[in-house]
Structures are given as C-alpha cells and as structure tokens.
C-alpha cells in the first residue's frame, strides 16, 4: 500500500479532530478531539518513518504518545477540579480569563 494513502487518512483524521475542537463545548470531548489530532500526527510520523526506512519517526511517535498522556492527565485533573467547585463543565462558560 502506498504511503500516500496513510497520509490522506492522517490528514482527514486531523481535520475531523480540528472540527471537533472548534464545535464541541464539553471539555471532555474537546480533550478527546485533541487526542484525535495527536494521533493523526502520529500516523503521519510513522508513515514517513516507513517511507525512509528509518526508526526515528517511530521514536517521535512514542514521545508524542507520552505528551498526549501528560496532557490527558492534566486536562482531566482540571475537569475534576471544575466539577468539585460546582463550576459548569462547559468551555464557553469558563471565559473569565478572556480579559
């Protein structure tokens, strides 16, 4: 299978994730859509790693997975914190830092 096919799939997943981040209001779902975008990046990295026949891209993908795990942990901690303080779990309502 050509590498280009994998890249097309990766581009489509990235765009679906971007649409989700922009349209959904629940911070949990926004985090899920961020995961989608990171995974699309992973797929592209691994496709290019296969294209060049070198393992470096796979290491990059592994590091991206670590970053994604950190982001999830901090994001979910924030959501639990919001819930504990009886704040609305909604990204539009949390706009005090807008200035």
């Amino acid at each position: 299978m050509d590498v280009a096919w994998f890249l097309v799939v990766s581009a489509l997943i990235f765009c679906i994730g971007a649409a989700g981040v922009l349209t959904r209001r629940n911070p949990l779902v926004v985090l899920l859509c961020l995961e989608l975008m990171l995974n699309a990046g992973n797929l592209a990295l691994i496709s290019f790693s296969r294209m060049h026949g070198s393992g470096d891209g796979q290491i990059f993908a592994l590091i991206v997975m670590v970053i994604a795990a950190c982001e999830v942990v901090v994001g979910l901690g924030l959501i639990v914190g919001m819930y504990r303080r009886r704040l609305p779990v909604d990204v539009d309502a949390m706009s005090e830092l807008r200035g």
Binding site: M1, V9, N26, G53, Q58, L62, I79, V80, G81
Partner: protein, 171 residues
C-alpha cells in the same frame, strides 16, 4: 486490510465528534485507536502498535471512562446558539482537509507513491526501538520521563480535595 482499518479509524473519529453523549464518544475513540494500531502494524511499527493498544486504548481510555462516570455524562444541548466559531468550525475543517489533500497530491516527494524504502528484518521491533531510545534519542527519552513526573505531580495538585485545607491562593 488497509481500507477496512482506515474506514474504521475514520468512522471512530467521526463518532467522537458527532455523538452527543461523552461516554459514547470515549467508546468511539477506543474503536478509532484500535483501528489506528492496525494501520501502524501495516506500516511495520509493531512496538508502537502494541504500545498504542496497551497504553492508549487500555490505560488512558480507562482514565477517561472514570472521569466521565465521575462528572456524569453532560450532553451538549442542541438548541443553543452554536456561535460564530461553532458555525465556521466545520467549514474551516473542510477547507483544511481540501488544502492538505491538495498539498499531498501536488508534493514533489516521489517516494510517496511507493510502498516505502527497503527495510531490514528488525524494523520497528522492540529491540530496535530500545536501542534507538537509549543511544540516539537519549535526551528526548529523559525529557519525556521528566515530563511524565511533572504531569503526575500536577494532576495530584489540581485534583486533590481542598476542603479543610487553608487556602493557598491557588485557583
């Protein structure tokens, strides 16, 4: 095999965005991640595929399910005005998709239309990944481990119970 996995991955991704209940979104993401692991296998990245299933589809998704169960599945209500960003978001994503596909089709990278370079037998195996991580990529590896430590401490600080504690001025 490729088309089945790619269709599953795209359907899972679409489900995450479209489904109203966050719990179903999480389940849809699990389908997406497993389909993505199959794609990784097709690209000879065995170790990454295994890590994807174990770490992502296993551990991270369990974390999500716990938080959804704790917070309760708050559904987005449909009647609310989506706002400018909400209306233009899908349009923006469509333009981005068209642009990326044009960039892919018009690229000068001739190797894109091949199955990839010749690879030796151990490509993508745990042995090769481990050797690369500990020889060539030692600094990113250590930085990632430090980042994990920072994130774990940060999550504990963010999510701990504050009732009964003096206010430390952290919001």
């Amino acid at each position: 095999m490729f088309f089945v996995a790619a269709a599953l991955a795209l359907a899972g991704a679409f489900g995450v965005v479209v489904l109203r209940n966050p719990f179903y979104s999480v389940l849809s993401l699990v389908v997406h991640l497993i389909a993505l692991a199959i794609l990784f296998l097709l690209l000879h990245a065995q170790f990454i595929a295994a890590a994807q299933v174990v770490v992502y589809a296993g551990a991270v998704m369990v974390l999500y399910v716990f938080v959804v169960a704790y917070v309760g599945g708050v559904e987005d209500d449909r009647d609310r005005d989506p706002g400018v960003v909400g209306q233009l978001g899908p349009l923006f994503a469509l333009f981005l998709a068209v642009e990326l596909v044009i960039a892919l089709l018009g690229t000068g990278l001739s190797a894109l239309d091949t199955g990839g370079a010749e690879i030796e037998a151990g490509f993508g195996s745990p042995a090769e990944i481990g050797e690369l991580l500990l020889r060539k990529m030692l600094v990113p590896f250590e930085a990632a481990s430090f980042l994990l430590l920072v994130a774990a401490v940060g999550a504990v600080v963010l999510a701990r119970k504050r009732r009964g504690l003096p206010d430390e001025g952290i919001v």
